[in-house]
Symmetry: C2
Subunit: 124 residues, 2 copies
């Protein structure tokens, strides 16, 4: 999905949030400031490159703020911007909608649903 088809804000947001990682990263960032390697630990399956790319995308969109510490070894921290924080409940609402829609087994609800990417890797 490279070029926009309409000027519709919905399409523009989806262009930003589409894909497996954006919402997941936002989710983990919700927990507070994270370093690059922290996020890699949170999502073991994302490649070095993808993480870097996705973070930049979110940064450009003003959802994530990047802070670089020049020392050694290089160190960079990421955190949600206010806009990013405002986005969180909307994403949670979608997750909530999904649970109440797809099944009746609400094992965990919106604000507390915990991704478990760490060890549960489901491949086709």
């Amino acid at each position: 999905m490279k070029s926009l088809v309409s000027r519709c804000p919905i399409e523009e947001v989806m262009q930003l949030l589409s894909g497996r990682w954006p919402t997941l990263l936002i989710y983990y960032l919700k927990q507070g400031t994270k370093r690059f390697s922290d996020l890699r630990r949170d999502n073991p399956t994302i490649s070095h490159k993808m993480l870097s790319l996705e973070l930049r995308k979110l940064e450009d969109a003003g959802i994530v703020e990047r802070t670089e510490f020049e020392g050694y070894p290089l160190r960079v921290e990421y955190q949600l911007t206010p806009a990013g924080h405002r986005l969180v409940p909307l994403i949670d609402a979608l997750g909530d909608w999904w649970e109440t829609t797809s099944d009746g087994g609400g094992h965990s609800s919106s604000a507390d649903a915990e991704p478990v990417a760490s060890n549960t890797v489901l491949r086709d």
Copy 2:
């Protein structure tokens, strides 16, 4: 994005809504019952095949209901299910968030933002 990485509902919803078309189709379907060709008119840039694929995906997800009329010429109508209707405001909220975030010019707000895919094609 084929396989899931976590059992997180957020990731599952995104797997469904990711891409350019799902949200756009839901948006147009919000207006009421539509035929296949109506939806093609709404989104001139979607291919015949894609529309068919995306509609099936939404149908399988229980967001869209398909009604087939056996007469001739063949005729099929699509409409949002109750679950689909519940999803609409959530998507609108995202569009709303985008507008208040990316700029300060709130020219139109959530429930009334109108996609104009019909003629405004922006390529990179």
